[in-house]
Symmetry: C4
Subunit: 213 residues, 4 copies
C-alpha cells in the first residue's frame, strides 16, 4: 500500500490524522500517572506512614503536573496549527509521526524527573526530550508553509514571527541544561523564561499577524 497523497480538510483522511494524534496525546498524558507508584505500607491503616510515603512522592506529583502542563501546551499548539490547515499531505503526515514519537517518549523522562528531581542528568534528559518536540513543531510549521497547506497564505514576516514563538520554549529548556549542574531548582525556574520572552515578542507582533495565526 503506497504513500498517502493530499487530503483536504473535511475528508475522512484529514480527520484521521487529527484523531490519531489526539489519541496518542491523550494516552501519553494519562500514562504519566502510571509513573506514580502506589506505595507499600508496613501498617496499611497508619495515617502517619501513608503521609510520609506520599510526601516522599512529592517529586512525582510535581513532575506529573509539569509534564501534563507541558504536553497539554503542545496539544494546544497542535490544535491551533491544524485549525489553520486547508489540507494535509504525505510529508506532513510523516513529520507528524516523528513529532508524535517524541511526545510518546515524554512519560519516560517524566518518570526520571519524578524519581530524581535533584539529579542534573534527569533535568538534562527532560529538557532535551521536550526540546525535540518543539523542534519538530517548527519542522511541521515550515513544511505547511512551503507546501502551501495553510487555509490562508501567510506573509513571510508573520511566518518568521510564528517560528520564533514556536521556538521560545526551546530557549528555556536549552538554558536549563548547563544550569542543572549548578542547581536543579534554578534549571526548572529557567523553564519559565519563555513566558517573559513571549510577552516581549507579543509587542513585536506584525500588524496583520492576528489574521493568520
Amino acid at each position: 500500500m503506497g504513500q498517502p497523497g493530499r487530503h483536504p480538510r473535511g475528508s475522512e483522511e484529514f480527520s484521521r490524522v487529527v484523531n490519531f494524534s489526539d489519541a496518542l496525546f491523550a494516552i501519553a498524558m494519562t500514562l504519566l500517572v502510571v509513573g506514580i507508584e502506589v506505595p507499600d505500607l508496613a501498617d496499611s491503616d497508619s495515617v502517619g506512614e501513608l503521609a510520609d510515603v506520599l510526601s516522599d512522592d512529592l517529586g512525582s506529583f510535581i513532575s506529573f503536573v509539569i509534564s501534563f502542563a507541558v504536553i497539554g501546551r503542545y496539544w494546544l499548539a497542535h490544535h491551533g496549527f491544524f485549525a489553520r490547515l486547508a489540507a494535509v499531505d504525505g510529508g506532513l503526515i510523516g513529520i507528524n509521526l516523528v513529532y508524535l514519537m517524541f511526545v510518546a517518549f515524554l512519560p519516560f523522562p517524566t518518570g526520571l524527573l519524578g524519581n530524581f528531581f535533584e539529579n542534573p542528568l534527569a533535568i538534562v534528559v527532560y529538557a532535551l526530550a521536550v526540546s525535540a518536540v518543539s523542534g519538530m513543531e517548527v519542522v511541521l510549521f515550515r513544511h505547511a508553509q512551503r507546501r502551501r497547506l495553510f487555509q490562508r497564505e501567510m506573509p513571510d514576516e508573520v511566518f518568521r514571527w510564528g517560528v520564533r514563538l514556536s521556538l521560545s520554549p526551546l530557549i528555556g529548556f536549552l538554558v536549563s541544561i548547563p544550569l542543572a549542574f549548578a542547581s536543579t531548582t534554578l534549571a526548572v525556574v529557567a523553564w519559565f523564561l519563555p513566558i517573559p520572552y513571549q510577552a516581549f515578542e507579543d509587542r513585536r507582533k506584525p500588524d496583520d499577524a492576528d489574521e493568520y495565526l
Copy 2:
C-alpha cells in the same frame, strides 16, 4: 503556533476537543483495572489459595467499581455539557485541559483506596481529588455562561440552579474528610449524600430549566 480562537459546533476543532477528552476519559477508566494486581500463588492450581488471594483483593474490586462509576458520572456530565455548547473558545479549551488533568490523576487515588481501604488518609486524598474535578466542572460551566457559548442563553436562575447541581457531589466528598478519621465506612457512605440532596434540588428546579439543561 498561537492560541486557538472560537470554534463553532460542527467544525473539526470543536470535535477535536470532544474526541481528545473522550480518549483521556476512556484511558483513565481503563487504567483503573491495571491497579488490580494479578496475584502470585505458591500452588498455581489451588482453588482455595486463589480464592483467598481474590478475597484479599476485595478492596481493589470495590474501588474499581466506585471509581468507574465516579469517572463515568463525570463523563456523562461532560457529555451533557458539551451537548449544550454552540462553540468552544481558547479559554474553554484551556480550562478543559486542567479539568482533564484532575481526571487523569484519578487512577492514583483509586489505587490508594484499593490498597488501603481503611486508612483515613486514603479516603481524604480520594475525596480531595474527586472534589477538584467537580470544582473544575463548575469553572467550565461559568466560563461557558460568561462567554455566551451555550446554544441558548441561560437565565441566571437556571444557571445558578445548574451550578448547585454540579457542586452537589462536592458536599458528600468534603463531608467525608473529617468523617474518615472516625470511620472510613461512614466516610464512604457520605459519598452518597448528593443523591438525596439532588432529589431535594429537583423539587426546587426553576420551571423552565428543562428547556436549557
Copy 3:
C-alpha cells in the same frame, strides 16, 4: 450539569458515545499484552533459556489470543448494534457505561487465566466476567427496542430471535463453570459451544430477520 436527552444519529453527541466506546474497547484490547511479562534471564544471550521462558509463557499467549477474539467479537456486535440505531437516549448512554465497565474489567480475568490456566477458579472468574458483558448486551438491546431507538421498528419475533443470539455466548460460559472443576481444558472447549448453537438458530431465523438485523 444535567442528564443528556435524546441525540439522533449524525449529531456530535451520538458520535461521541460511539467514539468513547471505541477508545475504551481499543485500550482494553491493547492492555491485554501488558499482562505478558518480559522475562528476566540469567544469561541474556542464551537462546535456550529464552525459549524455555517463552514456552512457560504459553498460557499467557493463548489467553491473549482468546481474550482479543472475545473482546473483538463484542466490539463487532457493538458496531452492528449501533449501526441499527436511529438515536441514543440518556438511558442507553448509562447502560452502555455499565456494559463498558465489564469490558474494561476483562484484562484482569485474562491475566488470571494466563497465569493459572489449570486453576478451575481462574476459569470460573473469566466465564463470569464475560457472561456479564453478554448480559449487558441484552440489556442494551432491550432498552433500544422498548424506547424505539432502532432505525426500523423490529417485529417481536425478530427481536426475540436477536436476544437468543446475543445470549448464546452465555451458554458456553455458564456450562464451563461446573466443568472447570472436572477439567479446565474441557471448560475452555465448552466456550466454543455457541458456534454449533448459532448454526442451529440460523436455521430457525425468522424470514424477515435480515431486513432488521
Copy 4:
C-alpha cells in the same frame, strides 16, 4: 446482535472502523515507552550512576525507536489503504481485527528486543511478529480487491504490483531469521533490505499505478 453489512465511506460505521483502528495503533505505539523502566539508583543525585544506567538502557531506546517507526509505517499504509476504500464490509472489519491483534501484540516482542538485543531468539520473535502484520496487510488488500471495495476498480497488474510492495518488508524480516543466529547486528541490518527493493520495484511500476495507489 448480528454481523455488520456493507457500510459506505461517510457513514458513522465506516468512520468507526477507522477510529477504532487509530486508537489501537496509538495505544500500541505509546505503550512501547512503558517497556523502558525508570531505573533505581543507589545515590539518586549521582550523575555518573544515572548515566551508566541510561547507557545500559540503550537497547531499550533503540527498540523503542525501531518499533515506533515500524508501527508508524504500518499506520501510514493503513491510512493510505482506507483512503482508497469506497466502503467496508463485514469481512473487511473482521480481517482488520485480526490485523490489529498482531499490531497490539508488538509491544511484547519490542520489550524482548529491548532487553535481549543480542539474543537471536528475540530477533526471530520480533521478525515473525512483524511479518504477521505484513501478511495480514496483504489479506486486507486482497479482500478489498475481490469484494470491489476500492473507490476505483484496480487493474490486475496494478494490484499485483501493490501486493509485491506490501510484501516487501516481509523479505527483510524473513531473511533476518537465519542471520540472527550468526549475528544479531547483521539481522537488524537485513530489516532495511526492503528500502533498496522498493527502489527496484519503483522502476517496474505500471504506468497507470499512480492513478489507483
